[in-house]
């Protein structure tokens, strides 16, 4: 188990961590996601003991490794924390062969030589690179390097594994295949781990729970579905790529509510304890349908309440397999669709288009941060 309590850290004028509190359960893999520069790596370095916080405490498996014990300041040396750390740019020692890299930590622990050899070999087999043990790091591909880095981190039999954007330095094709590899390896290990990434898709693939980090603070922790359903701040919602608005509840009737956003009124499914006043409105772009007709003729939609608005296309972004279209309907709304539907609709910027979304797909939460 890893527990961080109110960790604060300043680098000169810049307050990098403003009281980070986070708990990772035993055997759990938690993803720490957030934009670049929000303090993810600093948090990891503090857990590892490579960086000392100004305030706050770190516990690993109920042992205080950083913080205050009475009046005494506690700082356990990095090597004594039993941590495996996988760096973004591999961090392999370029002057050592693969097997020396993997056995580096073992040799520092004065184990018998044949034990070191046996363990090194079994780790290389575990990551599927046993025939590369005589190579130097620069002779390996990025993916191979990262697997060696993982083997080295696991060599000392750590209690906790920290991974700092381990796949970020790879090209997108390798990243996808290594992502699956990593997921399988990490699942087998069932080790208490923190996986830092700025890529939400990567976080979803490898981990059970996700912690979204804003600038210097943990914004929300939970399972992805839960966070997507109920982001607790506009920051989190925006980070997740949702449409985010601050609206006002105009009326509530039964299981539906009318909400005004920038003067445009939409219907939404109500939530318990909803009352009139300010509200955070979120909407997944893939739930927003565009059409050239004023009504939606999808038979699945005829039984439920939905919103139909009219707006002008502001921007179109075409990606590999889908397209994102931004429409101004009094407020800006993003819609995501497959390339097929995009081409069928023959959309272009400046044209008028009808926007439909179900009332039930509108997420509303009250009493949360709307910064």
């Amino acid at each position: 188990m890893i527990r961080l309590d109110l960790i604060k850290k300043r680098f000169g004028e810049r307050e990098v961590l403003k009281g980070v509190t986070l708990q990772v359960e035993k055997g759990e893999l938690l993803s720490l996601v957030g934009p670049s520069g929000c303090g993810k790596t600093t948090t990891l370095n503090i857990v590892a003991g490579l960086c000392r916080p100004d305030d706050g405490s770190v516990l690993i498996n109920q042992v205080l490794v950083e913080g205050r014990y009475g009046k005494k300041r506690v700082h356990v040396k990095p090597a004594d924390r039993r941590i495996g750390y996988v760096f973004q740019d591999y961090g392999l020692f370029p002057n050592m062969k693969v097997h020396d890299n993997v056995s580096y930590g073992l040799k520092g622990r004065h184990l018998p030589e044949d034990e070191v050899k046996k363990r090194t070999l079994s780790l290389l087999e575990f990551v599927g690179l046993s025939d590369h043990s005589e190579h130097y790091p620069h002779e390996l591909s990025g993916g191979q390097k990262q697997r060696i880095a993982l083997a080295r981190a696991l060599a000392t039999d750590p209690e906790v594994l920290l991974l700092d954007e381990p796949l970020a330095a790879l090209d997108s094709r390798r990243r996808a295949s290594l992502r699956t590899d990593f997921k399988n390896i990490l699942r087998t290990l069932r080790m208490t781990s923190i996986y830092v990434t700025h890529d939400l898709a990567e976080a979803c693939t490898v981990s059970d729970r996700i912690a979204v980090m804003g600038s210097g603070k943990i914004e929300q922790v939970g399972h992805l579905d839960h966070i997507l359903e109920k982001p607790n701040s506009s920051y989190v919602a925006e980070f997740l790529g949702l449409n985010v608005y601050s609206g006002k509840v105009v009326s509530i009737s039964g299981c539906h509510a009318e909400i005004a956003i920038n003067g445009t009124v939409i219907s939404a499914g109500s939530v318990p304890n909803l009352h009139e006043g300010a509200v955070l409105v979120t909407l997944k772009p893939e739930n927003v349908i565009l059409s050239s007709e004023p009504t939606n003729d999808n038979p699945k939609w005829c039984r439920c309440k939905y919103n139909s608005l009219v707006g002008t296309i502001v921007e179109i972004v075409r990606m590999k397999s889908n397209a994102k279209v931004t429409v101004d309907v009094g407020f800006l709304i993003d819609s995501e669709m497959t390339l097929n539907s995009f081409e069928e609709l023959s959309l272009e910027a400046g044209r008028k288009v009808h926007v439909h979304f179900k009332a039930d797909s509108v997420g509303i939460s009250q009493g949360v941060n709307q910064y």
Binding site: A79, F87, G91, P94, N95, M96, Y104, P137, H138
Partner: protein
């Protein structure tokens, strides 16, 4: 700026007259530098070389020169490398001031360096009485030559090793610290091997500078043949009595300098050649 104007920026870019002018100016300068060096060798023939190599004055100067500058280089390694490591990796009050002061011997006039060493270590100097108690009188002693060389050449090892240590990626050191509890092991297995070429460059330059040291040695250690007379001192002293001996010593120093430069180029190229 358009492409046509860009290509016309160089005065010498079009026309043979421009190229001719550029070539002749460079040629004059290159000759000015190479001619004196060539003169040293043109003046020698094999017979005199063989004869002068048996001249005790020449042999003593070579022996003293090689021994002292090698010892100075070893000492610069023993003291300079830890100091460079301290300056590269630790923070302390007044660090940048100390750092700047340590460069001073590089630009200090050699005569000033010699006088400074006398005022510090000679029998009447600051530490003189204490050294006298230990029956150490530095001036006139071969060890004084070593100290003069070490003093003057110290910035070379400090600069070079410090830059090399600073260039070792922080992440690699962090990684090693996570894997092994011993800081000494981290230094010996990761930091030092990865900065080896920088340290070697510093050592080679220190050795070369020590071999050529003249002013500080003359003032602090004196000019005793066979004891404190190094090659540059011998070149100066023998110039009147035995010009050929001084000529030969110069030729040897030119050859040594050339090889040092070659080594420097090799190390310097490899310095950042460690692939990460």
């Amino acid at each position: 700026m358009n492409l046509a104007r860009l290509s016309n920026r160089s005065v010498f870019s079009n026309g043979t007259i421009g190229n001719l002018l550029l070539g002749s100016i460079s040629l004059v300068f290159i000759l000015f530098i190479l001619l004196p060096l060539a003169a040293i060798f043109l003046n020698l023939d094999l017979g005199t070389v063989v004869m002068e190599l048996q001249n005790p004055g020449v042999l003593d100067a070579m022996r003293v020169g090689l021994a002292t500058s090698s010892l100075a280089t070893i000492m610069s390694f023993a003291f300079g490398v830890p100091t460079a490591y301290l300056l590269a990796t630790k923070d302390f009050r007044g660090k940048s001031f100390v750092d700047a002061l340590l460069d001073l011997p590089m630009v200090l006039p050699p005569a000033v360096a010699g006088l400074a060493l006398l005022l510090a270590f000679a029998p009447r100097g600051l530490l003189g009485p204490a050294l006298l108690q230990l029956h150490i009188i530095l001036p006139g002693n071969v060890f004084a030559v070593v100290l003069a060389q070490l003093f003057v050449a110290s910035p070379f090892i400090l600069r070079s090793a410090k830059t090399a240590f600073e260039n070792v990626p922080r992440k690699l050191v962090d990684n090693a610290r996570l894997l092994t509890p011993s800081g000494v092991r981290v230094f010996l297995t990761v930091t030092l091997p990865l900065s080896m070429y920088g340290v070697m460059t510093g050592l080679v330059m220190t050795w070369a500078r020590s071999m050529g040291e003249f002013g500080a040695t003359l003032m602090f250690a004196g000019n005793l043949p066979g004891v404190t007379q190094t090659m540059p001192l011998a070149i100066y002293m023998l110039m009147a009595q035995d010009p050929l001996a001084s000529n030969l010593l110069s030729a040897i120093l030119v050859v040594i300098s050339f090889f040092v430069l070659a080594l420097f180029k090799i190390f310097d190229r490899k310095r950042y050649g460690v692939r990460l």
